[in-house]
Symmetry: C2
Subunit: 135 residues, 2 copies
């Protein structure tokens, strides 16, 4: 019903202004809990709705619907619905989606590389700052 798009982004920056330069854009688009995971899964190949849901543990039907629709709308994902019974819908990355997946893979690489270091850092910090919260 309501065509409320994403949140009311403060949108302080101008064209590229003094700073930021697009970080905020990509964050507004992929900063949610599921978008990146869907892109990563689709980077492996064509997937149907249920396949995606099974491949991404924890995602609800509703969120998968919303996430795929947003990616589709942004031109990152192609959606093909076959008018069969029962319905069959295929999702796959567009070329632009694949280029994003490549960039994301670099982030994942970074994460895997530094995961242990971060865990250790947290551990030390928590011991050095007892009963101090970061939530």
């Amino acid at each position: 019903m309501s065509v409320t798009n994403t949140a009311v982004t403060p949108q302080v920056d101008g064209p590229c202004g003094d700073d930021d330069c697009g970080i905020r854009d990509v964050l507004d688009r992929l900063g949610d809990r599921w978008s990146v995971l869907v892109v990563v899964e689709l980077a492996k190949g064509v997937r149907r709705f249920r396949e995606l849901q099974r491949a991404i543990p924890g995602i609800s039907q509703r969120m998968l619907t919303l996430t795929t629709k947003r990616l589709w709308r942004d031109g990152l994902v192609e959606r093909i619905a076959y008018p069969t019974i029962p319905p069959q819908v295929e999702y796959r990355l567009t070329p632009m989606g694949h280029s994003l997946a490549t960039t994301i893979a670099a982030l994942a690489d970074w994460s895997r590389t530094h995961k242990d270091t971060i865990a250790t850092s947290r551990d030390h910090w928590d011991k050095a700052h007892p009963s101090e919260s970061v939530s």
Copy 2:
């Protein structure tokens, strides 16, 4: 009825098997509204608390405190507090933080490169799917 071929899904293995390859970790850490922006700003050099706040329009004092503390805890940011009056606190990226900033820059590049294409795609989608929401 034989269309329901839900039997053994091929389950194409990605480079990491059936997992998310660490994407989730980096998302849990940087998926919030401000962390990435703080990292980007600190990539330019040492900053004091107020400098960060002025450089990142819209961030509240509370969120800047929380964000810097989390990045500090994760070992991405170094924090140096000089016991002066008034207090003076400097933040800067650690080597690991800088490596993250580099990766983030690639994402920003991607965003700038495809920004217009995405905007166009959205526009077309919205016209092809009137009064359909993605929120």
